[in-house]
């Protein structure tokens, strides 16, 4: 399948560009940011860490920029993302603890938003001018509000005022009645679920409008197609006709995943900060505050690669669903 190979090639290129950007950004920043960081750190860091930083960034070393670059690429490819200066552990260890939280949050919220949004979009498009269609401007409100502002508002209403949900964190450490042990036991899992309701709803509310509007507008366009008319003329039950139109209308929506996924990820990262959710987003926020460059770069790289991977999956799904896209390439 030449199309898929081309797409995969593009994503490899994009991943390489991200890697390269990741290497050059801290070095290209004005005022030699890294040196500034190092000077502020010199008092607090041990000589070993300084040596580690030097090895990572080539500071104080006599290596040329290109040599540093190749070392960096080689390290990254072998899974060595460096050593977090603020946490005193390898960056991969930090990420390993936090990625599941973020992937769980974004993944579940995106699946819910996609399914729900597409369904609402189908109905809104089918019964245009109907009651459901009035949902569209309302959902646009949630889309236009920045994710974290929406998160703040939800937090204020449901967390602070109504006390329905906890106001932050990923789980309870202890409470009056139970001591929580991390793992697959009901008290812990339920606590995690309870803590994830507000952040996940924020992401769902903020991202669902895109799906609704896209699906609705595509449904309206598709319903004018002759094959829908034929399906209707031949006396198929109403829901079968809708299904035929929806199946074709959903294709552009899937290709829109590419556009939306990096926005969703970025937004979700802010939501984590608002809700103090123990994921990658909160971590990069803390890392920026403590100018922990290895950690910042590691998170940036992993998030970018994850977004690219999600895009690749969306492309594959599109090719699987639409035979035309396979043939044209």
């Amino acid at each position: 399948m030449p199309l898929l190979i081309r797409r995969a090639g593009f994503y490899l290129l994009a991943a390489y560009a991200a890697l390269t950007l990741n290497f050059f950004i801290p070095r290209m920043l004005p005022g030699n940011a890294l040196d500034a960081v190092l000077t502020t750190m010199r008092g607090e860091t041990t000589p070993q860490e300084l040596a580690g930083m030097a090895a990572q960034y080539g500071i104080d070393s006599k290596q040329s920029l290109m040599a540093q670059y190749f070392t960096y690429v080689a390290h990254t490819l072998s899974g060595n993302l460096g050593f977090s200066t603020s946490k005193q552990v390898p960056v991969t260890t930090v990420l390993g603890g936090e990625l599941p939280w973020t992937i769980g949050l974004i993944g579940s919220a995106t699946v819910v938003a996609f399914l729900l949004g597409t369904l609402i979009g189908i109905v809104a498009g089918w019964k245009r001018g109907g009651l459901i269609d009035t949902v569209v401007p309302v959902s646009a409100f949630f889309q236009a509000v920045p994710y974290f502002v929406l998160g703040l508002l939800l937090l204020i209403i449901f967390g602070v005022d109504l006390h329905w949900f906890p106001i932050g964190g990923g789980y309870d450490a202890t409470s009056r009645t139970v001591t929580y042990i991390q793992g697959w036991n009901w008290p812990y899992v339920s606590s995690v679920l309870q803590h994830s309701v507000l952040p996940a709803s924020t992401v769902v509310l903020a991202s669902i409008a895109g799906w609704i509007v896209g699906m609705r507008n595509m449904m309206i366009t598709t319903m004018d197609e002759d094959y829908v008319l034929v399906a209707c003329a031949k006396g198929l039950p109403r829901w079968r006709t809708v299904a035929i139109a929806a199946r074709n209308a959903i294709l552009p929506t899937i290709s829109n995943v590419t556009l939306s996924i990096s926005l969703v990820v970025t937004g979700a990262i802010l939501v984590e900060v608002v809700f103090n959710y123990p994921g990658v987003g909160l971590e990069i926020f803390n890392a920026v505050q403590s100018t922990d460059y290895p950690l910042i770069q590691g998170i940036l790289l992993v998030v970018t690669l994850a977004v690219l991977a999600a895009n690749l999956i969306a492309d594959f799904a599109y090719a699987a669903l639409d035979p035309r896209s396979r043939r044209e390439a």
Partner: protein, 337 residues
């Protein structure tokens, strides 16, 4: 389409008399001139906040350094003289809100403008020239689409020297760099469609220069899409700038809505129930975004009338399968509505 029996293509509830007037393209002049309600409402909300941003800092009741008193360390709730109360340092929050609107909207619109210029340049060039240029520019914009912009902004901006962080132009430009790709993609697609149109081809045949064809034949016909992508990037820029301020990456000396949220957060205003500190800026951001989004919706519907949503109160044309609905603005008798 008119030849179709309505009973065949839809539920029998739409009688022919209901349908036929709706299919006629005739509309009264007055209703055609009126912009859709969404555009009107969105425009009013947006214009209001632009006015606030322009005039707010001038009419703010108190200067930034003003304090209500020096003895108390707890924020005061809203009261007669202090409409929105004070923060924990006893600064007037209403003044902060007015002053902060300027930098917030300035950056959002600046980023939108710069990003739009970039996206027109990239998108139209790629779409019109095609070939290798197109391949390269498309790949570039796809890469920018996939990169998580806010994270990169955090990394780029946080080590900048303090004067640069306070410089609206620098921040607006950096935000624009991460947001032009959406518009470029849409503009490229539309340019591709326009390139084959007869009037463009005839301009080519006459021997117009490429730059002239692009500027005077193509770009004017892209204006609705340019406007839509401008508004989209303004919304994006607003969100990103408020987020950057909220995260403390940018802290403009004049303050912004994001800065207010940030100081509220760092003083745990939410836990303490000091709602007058964080709620007004959050609502303002939400409202500006909403107004702009409504405008964008309206523009979308002007570009593509088919997606127009009409709550016609059941008296007018019913949207039917297989019929391209044209919303009837006047009733059959011609009475104005």
């Amino acid at each position: 389409m008119t030849a179709l029996d309505p009973a065949l293509v839809g539920p029998p509830d739409g009688s022919a008399s209901d349908l036929l007037p709706g299919l006629s393209p005739r509309r009264s002049r007055a209703t055609r001139r009126m912009p859709p309600a969404k555009v009107l409402l969105g425009g009013i909300v947006t214009a209001f906040f632009v006015l606030v941003a322009l005039l707010g800092p001038l009419v703010a009741p108190h200067a930034a350094g003003w304090v209500a008193n020096t003895s108390s360390g707890t924020p005061q709730p809203p009261s007669g003289p202090l409409w929105l109360g004070t923060d924990n340092m006893q600064h007037d929050l209403f003044s902060q809100l007015l002053v902060g609107s300027r930098s917030t909207l300035l950056i959002a619109f600046l980023a939108g403008a710069i990003a739009t210029v970039l996206s027109v340049a990239v998108g139209v060039t790629a779409g019109y020239l095609g070939g290798v240029v197109d391949e390269i520019l498309s790949a570039l914009s796809n890469i920018f689409l996939a990169l998580p912009g806010l994270l990169i902004l955090m990394v780029i901006i946080s080590p900048l020297p303090v004067p640069d962080k306070g410089n609206s132009l620098v921040i607006g430009f950096v935000v624009a760099i991460t947001s032009w790709a959406y518009g470029a993609r849409a503009l490229r697609a539309q340019t591709l469609a326009l390139r084959g149109q007869d009037y463009v081809v005839s301009a080519q045949v006459i021997g117009e220069r490429k730059s002239r064809i692009i500027l005077f034949e193509i770009v004017p016909n892209l204006l609705p899409i340019v406007a839509a992508s401008f508004i989209f990037t303004v919304i994006y820029g607003l969100g990103v700038y408020v987020a950057l301020c909220y995260l403390g990456v940018v802290s403009p000396s004049s303050g912004s809505w994001g800065t207010m949220l940030q100081s509220a957060q760092s003083n745990s205003a939410i836990g303490n129930g000091w709602w007058w500190w964080y709620l007004p800026p959050a609502l303002c951001v939400a409202l500006v975004g909403f107004g702009l989004a409504l405008l964008n919706f309206g523009i979308d519907e002007i570009i593509n009338p088919r997606i127009r949503s009409a709550r016609t109160g059941g008296r007018d044309v019913k949207f039917q399968l297989g019929l391209t609905p044209v919303v009837r603005q006047a009733s059959p008798e011609g009475e104005p509505r």
